[in-house]
Structure formats: C-alpha cells, structure tokens
Subunit: 443 residues, 2 copies
C-alpha cells in the first residue's frame, strides 16, 4: 500500500522510478497546429515524444488492441513485428490517427523524415498516437518539430515522456524494478475515455536486460494477458491500445522466470494506476473469481460483475447493495454462459461444456466478509455498516486532485465452488464525474 | 409519434387503453408492514394486486428471466406452466422475494390462503414480486390483506394495477389493441434499477381472444424475443423479470397471423415505454443493424453499441461523437466475435463461422444521415451541427415530469454490408440522474 500527501510527493516518487535503462534516450517537445477538419480553425497544442535506442535492437515486442477498426499506428506497428531491428517509438497525443483518410501514409511521411534525420529508415520506428479519432495528423507541423525533438534527447529520465503522452490523465504513471544489474521502467497513459478522445491505453516498457527475442514476445503476451487485459473501465477496447516492450540488451538476465514475474508485477501496477486515474473514478474495484470450472468462466464472471453499471453505481455511492453482484453473476451465467436456451438452466445448477456449475455453491466475500452463501444473503445491519464503511475507506476522492491519495481498492471475491481455476479483473465505479467528463460537447 | 402536454392528458390516454377484456377481474390494495430484516424497523408500504380470470383457463403462457439466480416467483411460475388451468396472478411491489431464506415456501403460504378464499388451489396463481432482493415477504400482513383485495375486484379497468405495480417508474404503462371483437391489454413496470430495488421488468398481457394453448406459448416466446428481449438499459437481466399472457378465450380469433403481429406491436410499444421511463433516461436509442451475416451478429453489434457507456454518455450530452459508435463496433467484432485469437482479425476483414465480415463495407447512419463509410468518417461541421440538433430534438427532458413528453428516439443504423440478416435493439443514454438514482444509499 502506498499513499501520497501532495502532488509534489507523488511526482518525486515518479521521477525516482523514471531513470532510463542503459542504451536509451528520450525527448519531448510540443507544437501548435490548426486542424484541417475545422472550417474556422482554432490553434491546438500537441506533445510529440521520442523514445530512442542508442543503437538499433532486435529485442522488441508489442501487443495491440483487438479492436477491428484499428488506428493507423496499430496497422503499421503490426507490420513492424517482422523487422529484424527497430530504433524506437514516436508518440503524439491530441490526434489518434484512426479512420482518417490517408492515415497510414501520413504516419509514414513523418517517420520517413525522422529516419532521414537519424540516418535510419521509416520502418525503424513504432508510431503511436492518442487523441481525437477521425482527424488527420498535422503532418507538416509534426515534421517541422522533429529537429528540436532530436536536439532535446537525454539519457536520464523517461519522466518527461510519461507526462507528455497524457491526454485526460490527471497525473503521469511510472513504475520500475531492478533485476540484478538490469533496470526496467514502464510508463502508461489512459484509460477511460473523455470526449473527444478515445482514451487509448498506451504503455511503453524499456529495459536493458537481455532477453531472447521470441521468448520476450511470448513473455509480453502472457504478462499483458494477466495485467492490461484484466482491466476494464468502459468495457470497450479502444482503436489504438498498445503495449511496446524494448530492450537494449546491455545486461545479462539472471533468471528469465523471475524476470517475468517482476515484469508481470510492473504491468499489474501500471494497469491499476491506469484504472485509478480513469476519468471520474471514485473507487478501484478488484473482482477475484476462484474455484471456477475454467479460467474463461472465471474471467467472464469477473468482467460481468466489474462492468455492471448497477454494481459500479452502488459502489460509487458506498452502498452495500450485494444483490447487484448476485444479479450480475446470475445474468452472466444464465445468459452469456448458458446461451439462449432456457433449458440449460435447471434449478440449482447449469450444465456447461466442462461439467456442472452449481449455483447454490457460490459464495461472495466483500472486503473478506462473507455476504452470500448457499443461495442466501448473509446481510444484517452490522454487515451493511461494515460494507458501507469499507467502501468509504477505499474511496479515492480524486476530484480536482492531480495525484492518487492511496492505492487501496474494493476487493470482491466470488467462490464458484465448482472447479479449480481463477481469474482477477480490475475495474472502477461509475460516478457523476464519469458521466460529466464523457458527455461534454467538444469545444 | 405521440406526445402529451400534461400528466392528466397522459393518464387519461392510459385509462382509455386500460379497459379489461371479457372474463377478467382486477383489484389492488395496499398494506403497511415492518421488515424483519431491520433491527429497528421502519414501517414500509406495499401494494398488492390481483388479476383474476372469472373462471380458470387453460390458455396461459409465460416467459421468465434467464438469470441463474431467479427469484421465488420465477421458480414457482416455471412449475405452473405444466398445470392444466390457472386462475390469475398475485403481484406485490416493495420486496422481490429473491435469495431470501424460505422464499418459495413463503409465497406458497400466501397463495394457499388466496386459493382457500377463492375456492381454488395454491397452484392456480402465478406469484409475481418486485422490489428489494434478499428480504423476506411480510407473509402475515399480506395474508391479512387478501380479503379486502378480493372485495375490491372489478371488471372494468387494469389501470389501478398498472399503477400499483410501479416501483421507481414515474408513470404507469398501458397498451392495448382490438382484434375483431376481441380485446387485448398489456401493462408493464421497470426497468432500469434503482437502489434498493432490482428493477424487475414485469409485464402482464390479458386477452379475451381464443388461441391454441401451445400456439399461444410459442407466440409469446417469439414476440418477447423481438420486443422485451431487445431492450437493454443496464445490460443486466434481473432476477425476477417475467411476462405473463392470459386468455379468457371468450372471443374467436379471426387470424392468428395478424394477431401475432398486433401482439408484437403491443409488446414493442410496452418495451419502449419501459425504456423511456427508465431511471434517468434522457434519450431512447434505437440501433438497427442491417445486412449482417447472421441475426446473432446483428443483435450482438446492436447490443454492443447500445450498451457502450461511451456511446450512452455522448448521446446524453447531445455530442455527435460518432467515433465511439465505430469503436464499440470494432471492439465487439475484434473481441467478442473473433474471440481471443488476434490472428482472426486481418486488415479489412475478419473470418467468422458463416463467412467473412468486411470492415470496410460497414456504413453508419445517425438520424438517416451517413456519418461513416468505407472505413472513413463523413463528418464535417455541418454534420456535427445536424447530429447535435437531432439528439437535442430526441431528448426527453423527463426530470421531475411524471409523464412522457413524446416518443421520439435516436435512430442509429449500422449497415454491415456482409449478409442479409438484421436486428433492432432499444436502449437508453447514461445520465447524471442515472448515476444519482443508482448510487443513493438505502435509507
């Protein structure tokens, strides 16, 4: 558990974590542009950032959104995975370059110029964009900014980039760990969406630890599956989400197994940071489903609960409305799991591919307190008081604050009592502020 | 299109529609009770209603929630389907009788007494309950109220019942139609949930038109599938949802095919009424998906869009954020449809069981205006202005009003361009009021 008393205290802790691993440079700059989409254009500001390997490296991996309308950076990035080596990542905020005419060509024009300036090729850089979708990148202005971006390169800290990639984030997010002599640092932005942005979840992880190229790609997939892919704020996966993992390979790895555990922990912390900083988030909610017939069922139940607007609003209001948890489990099991055949649900259990799921065996604990067992609620006034106090204690009260007060979260455990698999998902409550931030008209 | 200028005008229109078909009686009463769940009990009020056939009838059908934690009334109701004849429905609000210890036994005690008073059996009545879940019914108080309930039976109007079954509904919902000499009337309550209620969706449809017993059951399933099962406010199906359809069989049916169409129209209107009266609903949203490879895909895309918190909040804010519609389609196709294999999504199309779904062929119209085509947005300032005005025109401004001002809705059409199937789903926006109503602590 960590807590911070002031913005300064939080920023200092981020800066301490933000030291660049060996072999990396970073820079950021900002530019002003006039969007072509506006008849009467208003000047807008964009941050442009560069994460650069001192030398090209074959050690890189990436995981992209599964959204079937991917943005231009995702389309280009997927192609780069077959390259022998890459040099770095060029990131902009403000415009996401999604479903805009000629978006791929525009990104390539900018990368080609970056390649020319750094004596590389346009295929040596991952592009990454977040912001308004449907709009075109200000290609000329971005190209004009590249020389000053390159001039600003430094080898000390990723912190300025962590701050520059923010859109609606209220604070930067940086996590790091040491593995022997090696150093790994990760930054992230997003999620939750604010108008007019699709709040892309971007994360960049840099290390000087030497890993096997294929092994590192498989490792990233496994790690993302158990961290970034376990968070859910809007229930939506945006058109531009990506996690990029680069290694300079300067330091030998002591233990790949241990490294993977440490990387998973880093990604879990970053993904919780992302949820905690989601727009209008008042509580972080963690749902752990245990003793499930399959991991997929565990994850499905967890997501159904953590995405239920009714569960989310109840927790926002510090309301011990356990009925909504029960109802969302029942809805998932009866509808999504059992499909559309009413016959599949017998009183007491449902037949699923892997066997039987006994509804009467389901037990629910909130804040470690048993609230539902044997098909009946275990709720009296005392329990309601406990739950309400527990929710209040986990509340973030983040309105107006530009730092997280603490990293406590509401913990819900659902014991399905019908197997040995489990899954944990992280989500957030649903607040007035969420609606306000997501409803305001572009201006 | 209908519109109402005052509560009185709306109520009058409901009363005109509410005439009982031949062979039916109805009554409602209210009672005060002290919930056993409270250590220091506060008196609470409950409405109890009875819908009674003058004589037992074999012509009855029911569709129940698929939620795998069904309430006691759903458990009992499912069993009744195998009975030869039934006499009616006993409905209470305030307590839903879900996951409460001995809930089935409690409901049976009350029905047994009702049966004794009416010289029937306890198995002759559908029980129906809506309200707090986890609490026990006030069995004694309910039994004490039965004589006055029976005394109040009248054969004129279902309107008092339509009003008595309301929980958080702000106005009663009644629809009816004539078929030759026959009369059919339907009432509904719900949906959307307000603390501490699980806003059960209840609908009771009464007719004097004579139908075939099995045919009427199949008809109800088909009709519900295309009406009540196409609405989605919270994304959740509650533990107590039910639709009961009773016929006194007094009037011969001219045309069963036409009757089914008329019944479907009645159910669609009732289900739209339910959405329009959902807590904090500012806009009703209708998503029609056409030219889909399958009906299931059409419905899935429609539900993904209509349930997306981001689409919902944008429409609440009258914000023409078409990007969110595109993103939610892409998320559904890339994740739910393509499953978890990233490989299934190729640039431009995805392979599905029934063939190919070409992403570039997807076109989106909002208010009949094309806003997305060939993978690119068709949005300029004029279109944005049109959309914003269109959303404003569809807004309900229902805050504080106890009647619906009009029945306009936001119409979104998604043309998948990859097949011939279609589906229409109805949902609502996401407003401050929704969060407020769903977050307030029980008191």
């Amino acid at each position: 558990m960590e807590s911070y008393n002031s913005e300064g205290e939080y920023i200092e802790s981020c800066k301490r974590r933000a030291l660049l691993p060996r072999g990396f440079l970073a820079s950021t700059t900002s530019l002003t542009f006039f969007p072509v989409e506006k008849k009467v254009p208003d000047a807008m500001k964009m941050n442009l950032s560069l994460i650069l390997l001192k030398e090209k490296s074959p050690l890189f991996a990436a995981v992209f959104t599964r959204n079937a309308f991917p943005g231009a950076p995702v389309r280009i990035g997927k192609e780069l995975l077959s390259r022998d080596r890459v040099r770095g990542i060029l990131v902009n905020n403000r415009i996401a370059n999604v479903c805009a005419e000629g978006g791929v060509e525009d990104a390539r024009l900018i990368l080609a110029e970056l390649g020319r300036l750094l004596e590389c090729e346009k295929y040596d850089f991952f592009p990454s964009s977040t912001g308004i979708i449907g709009w075109k990148l200000p290609v000329k202005d971005m190209i004009s900014s590249l020389p000053s971006l390159i001039e600003g390169l430094q080898d000390e800290s990723i912190f300025p980039v962590a701050r520059a990639i923010m859109t609606t984030d209220s604070y930067p997010k940086v996590r790091s760990f040491l593995h022997g002599e090696g150093r790994t640092v990760g930054i992230a932005k997003g999620a939750g969406m604010i108008e007019p942005n699709m709040a892309t979840m971007l994360s960049f992880i840099l290390t000087d630890v030497k890993l096997d190229r294929e092994g590192m790609r498989e490792m990233l997939h496994r790690v993302v599956e158990e961290s970034f892919n376990r968070i859910s704020i809007d229930g939506d996966q945006s058109t531009s989400d990506m996690v990029i993992f680069l290694s300079s390979g300067k330091v030998e790895c002591d233990s790949v197994v241990e490294y993977e555990d440490e990387l998973k922990e880093l990604c879990r912390k970053l993904s919780e940071d992302v949820v905690r900083n989601g727009e209008g988030v008042g509580h972080v909610i963690q749902v752990t489903v245990i003793n499930a017939p399959s991991e997929a069922i565990a994850r499905g139940v967890g997501k159904a609960v953590v995405n239920s607007p009714l569960v989310k609003t109840a927790i926002f209001g510090n309301d011990p409305n356990v009925g909504r948890i029960v109802s969302s489990i029942g809805d998932f099991v009866g509808n999504s799991l059992a499909g559309n055949t009413e016959l599949a649900v017998s009183p007491g259990f449902i037949r699923i591919a892997s066997g039987l799921l006994f509804m009467e065996r389901i037990a629910i604990r909130v804040g470690k307190k048993m609230v539902f067992e044997n098909g009946v609620f275990k709720i009296d006034e005392e329990t309601e008081k406990f739950l309400s106090d527990y929710f209040k204690d986990c509340a973030l009260d983040s309105e107006g604050k530009r730092f997280p007060a603490h990293d406590r979260k509401v913990e819900i455990e659902i014991d399905l009592g019908s197997g040995r698999e489990e899954s944990t998902v992280i989500g957030s409550d649903l607040s007035y502020q969420y609606v306000r931030e997501n409803a305001d008209y572009r201006s």
